[in-house]
Amino acid sequence: MSSILNILLAGVFHAATLFLVTAGLQLIFGVQRILNLACGSIYALGAYVGITLTTWALANGLPPYLFPLVLLVAGLVSGLIGIPLERLIRSVYRRPEAFQLLLTFSLILIFQDVIWFFWGAEPQQLSNLTMTYGTISVMGVTMPTYNIMLIAVAVLFAIGLNYYLNATRSGKILRATAENHETGAAMAIDVKRVYVWVFTLGTTLGTLGGALVIPTTAATLQMGVELVVEAFAVIVLGGLGSMKGAIVGALIVGVIRAIALFVYPEVEVLAIYAIVLAVLIWKPSGLYGKVEA
C-alpha cells in the first residue's frame, strides 16, 4: 500500500511541476492565441534567477527557512521579462501561426545563449535546501516537506487562477478579450494593455514555477527544451488554452509516467504518448479544449 502511495505521490509531484510550466502557456494561448514555445525557457530563467538570488541571500545571512520567500521574489522579478517579450511578440499577432512558432522557437535559442552568457554552461543547483523543512512520513511514505509544499503551491495557483478568471473584474475582462478581442475593444477594453498584462502574468507563472521547483532539481541549459516536450503532451491531453485541461493533463502525464516506471520502465515515454495519440484521435481538441469552427 505504501509503495503505491509513494509512486502516486511522486507522480503528483511531477504533475505539479508540469502544471507550473503549462499554466502560463495556457493562459497566454487562451487569451492571445499565441503558442509560446519558449515557455520552458521562461521557466528555466526563473530557475536560474532563483538560484542566484537565493545563493546571494543565504550568503548574506538569510535564515535558510526563509528561502521560499526569496524564490518567490526571484520568480516575480524575472517574470517582468514578459513586458519586453510581449512587445516583441506583438509583431506576429495578426500573422499566420507559423510566424508565432518561428519567433517563439528563436526565443528558445536566444534564452539558451543568454543563460549561457550569464550563468555559464555548467549545471547549477542549490544545496540541499529541500531538507530545510525536514520530511513528512505518512503511511510509510517519506517525502521532503518541501515537495508537499510545492504540490500545495500548484494547487493554490490553480485555485487562484480559477478565482481570478471567474470572480474578478480583471479576470472577466481577460475572458471577454479571449472570446473576441474586437468586441472587447468596442466595449472600451484596452486590448493592448490586456495583452501586456496577460503575457506578463503568464510569464510570471512560468518563472515562479521555475524558481520554486529548482531546490528539488538542477538548472541546465537544456531544461527549457526538455520540459517543453512534456508540457506539450499536457496541453494536447488537456486541451489548448484550458486551465482545467492543464491540471488534468499534468496529472495524467505525471501519474502515468510514475506507474509506467514501476510496472514496466521500458514504456515510460511510450505510455504517455500512447495516451496523447488516443486523445488526439478520440478528441482532437483535448479533454477540455474548445472545438474551433
Binding site: 509503495s3 544545496s127 541546465t220 537544456q222 526538455e226 515515454v269
Partner: protein
C-alpha cells in the same frame, strides 16, 4: 584487489621519459628548419554546452594547461603549439566542424570527442582524411567493435566499460554474499546499457545471481527523478548500480537521500566521480563505491605532475578537475611522443601524418593519472581509480577513503578478443565478499 600500475618498471619508464624530454629541451633532437617558424595546430572537439559541458570544459582546460606548459619547454618537436577549439554537438554538426578544422584551419591533428555516437561517425572520416585523431572518450566496447577495426590514424580512448568492470569487481569483493536484491538506474544509451549488462555478467561470473528488483533507464538530462526514486523505494533493493554521471547524478543522490533510500541500500557509481564536487556530504553517504576513472584529484600518492595540475586548476577555476582532464592531457602527451619519435627516426623532415600515426603505438607517457601506454590496436592502457566514499575531508563533498588503483591491462579487454567473451573468460582474482564470519569463496 588494490593494485597499482606504479611498479618496478616505473623508474625505468620515467628515466626514458626524462631522457626524451631532455633531448627535446636541449635541442639535440633535430628539427627541420621550416617547421620551427610554423606553429603546430591541434584541433579540439569538445562539448561546451549541454549536459556534457562540465566534462568537456574540464578537458579543454587541461589541454590548455598542457599546451602552455609544452610551449614553455619549446613546444612539440620545436614547434609552438596552437589550439583551435570547436564545439562537439551532434554527429552531423561535429563532422562538419571536423572537416573545417582540416580544410580551413589546417590543423595537424584533432583531439577530443566524448560521445560514442560522434566518435563512431568520425572514425571513418579520420581514416579517409589521414588525420591523426585522438579520442578523449566516447568508446563503449560495442562502439569500439563497430568502429574502423584496424585504424591507422584513429586512436581511441580506454573502453568506457573499464570503469564498470572495476566497480563490479569491487562490489563483488565488498558485498558479494550479501547481494540479494539489486536495482539498476542507468543512462538510456549504449554506455548505460553495456555497463549494466557488464555488472550483471560479473556478478554471474562469481556465482552471484540476485533478484533484479528494478531496472530503469533514464534519459540524458532528466532532472525530475522523483518517480524513479519512488519506484526504487518500493522495490527495496540492497544495492543500486547507476552509471549516471551527468548533472542528473547529484540530483539522483539528493532525491534518494531525501526519500530515505540511502539509509539501507548500497550504491555503486562507476563514474560518479565526474560529479565529485556536486556530490555533497549532505546527501551522499559514506561507503558508496565511487569511480573516478583515470584521474583522482586527491590521490596522496599522485605524481608531481598531478599535484602541479590540480593546484593550478583549483587556483584558477575554484573547482576540482576530473578524469576528462587526464584523458585530454594524455592525448596531448601521446601525440607529442609520437611526433618526437617520428622526428628522431627521420631528422631532416617534418614527419607526415602517417609517420606520426605509426610512431604513436608502443609509447609510454606520463599523464596526469600516471603512466599510460598506447597499445598496438590504438587503445590505451591507463590506471583507473575507485574507492569508498568518505566524509572525512575538508571539503563539502565526498572523497575517497582509500584509493584503489587498477591497470587497464587487467580490466580492459585485450585486442584480440570480443568483449563479452573476454569478460566470461577473464581471470580477475577477486575474492567474493561474504557476511562477516562466513566462508570466503575463492573464484577466478
Amino acid at each position: 584487489m588494490s593494485r597499482s600500475i606504479i611498479s618496478t618498471k616505473r623508474r625505468q619508464i620515467l628515466k626514458t621519459l626524462g631522457a626524451g624530454g631532455a633531448l627535446s629541451a636541449t635541442g639535440l633532437l633535430s628539427i627541420p628548419a621550416y617547421a620551427k617558424n610554423k606553429p603546430l595546430r591541434i584541433g579540439i572537439l569538445a562539448p561546451r554546452t549541454g549536459v556534457a559541458a562540465t566534462i568537456g570544459e574540464c578537458g579543454i582546460r587541461a589541454v590548455e594547461w598542457g599546451v602552455a606548459r609544452l610551449n614553455a619547454q619549446g613546444g612539440i618537436g620545436g614547434r609552438k603549439v596552437e589550439l583551435v577549439i570547436q564545439e562537439e554537438t551532434s554527429p552531423k554538426e561535429t563532422i562538419d566542424r571536423y572537416r573545417k578544422l582540416i580544410l580551413q584551419d589546417q590543423v595537424d591533428t584533432i583531439h577530443g570527442v566524448m560521445s560514442s555516437g560522434v566518435s563512431l561517425a568520425l572514425a571513418p572520416l579520420a581514416e579517409q582524411s589521414k588525420t591523426v585523431t585522438m579520442l578523449w572518450d566516447g568508446t563503449t566496447q560495442d562502439g569500439v567493435k563497430e568502429m574502423v577495426p584496424y585504424p591507422k590514424y584513429l586512436f581511441k580512448a580506454a573502453g568506457n566499460e573499464v570503469d564498470a568492470v572495476m566497480a563490479s569487481l569491487q562490489a563483488v569483493k565488498l558485498y558479494g554474499g550479501q547481494i540479494k536484491n539489486i536495482a539498476g538506474v542507468n543512462v538510456d544509451y549504449t554506455y548505460g546499457r553495456t555497463t549494466w549488462t557488464t555488472f550483471l555478467a560479473i556478478l554471474k561470473k562469481f556465482g552471484i545471481e540476485p533478484n533484479i528488483v528494478s531496472e530503469q533507464w533514464v534519459k540524458i538530462g532528466t532532472m525530475d527523478l522523483t518517480s524513479n526514486i519512488a519506484v526504487l523505494k518500493a522495490a527495496k533493493p540492497d544495492l543500486i548500480f547507476s552509471s549516471m554521471f551527468f548533472a542528473d547524478l547529484p540530483i539522483f543522490m539528493q532525491q534518494a537521500h531525501n526519500a530515505g533510500l540511502t539509509e539501507n541500500a548500497k550504491f555503486v557509481l562507476p563514474v560518479g566521480g565526474v560529479q565529485q564536487t556536486a556530490l555533497k556530504k549532505q546527501f551522499t553517504p559514506e561507503g558508496l563505491i565511487l569511480g573516478h576513472s583515470t584521474f583522482y584529484f586527491d590521490d596522496k600518492e599522485g605524481s608531481q605532475l598531478q599535484k602541479e595540475f590540480v593546484k593550478w586548476y583549483v587556483d584558477k577555476y575554484k573547482e576540482h578537475p576530473h578524469f576528462e582532464a587526464e584523458r585530454a592531457y594524455f592525448c596531448l602527451a601521446m601525440y607529442k611522443a609520437g611526433v618526437e619519435k617520428a622526428l628522431s627516426a627521420k631528422p631532416n623532415a617534418w614527419p607526415s601524418s602517417s609517420e606520426v600515426a605509426q610512431a604513436i603505438p608502443g609509447n609510454k607517457v606520463e599523464s596526469l593519472g600516471g603512466i599510460g601506454y598506447m597499445r598496438p590496436d590504438h587503445i590505451p592502457n591507463q590506471t583507473f581509480y575507485q574507492g569508498l566514499s568518505t566524509h572525512k575531508n575538508d571539503y563539502d563533498f565526498v572523497t575517497l577513503g582509500s584509493v584503489n588503483k587498477m591497470s587497464a591491462e587487467i580490466i580492459q579487454k585485450p585486442a584480440e578478443l570480443e568483449y563479452w567473451d573476454w569478460l566470461d573468460k577473464a581471470d580477475f582474482k577477486v575474492e567474493v565478499g561474504r557476511p562477516k564470519g562466513s566462508f570466503v569463496q575463492k573464484k577466478g
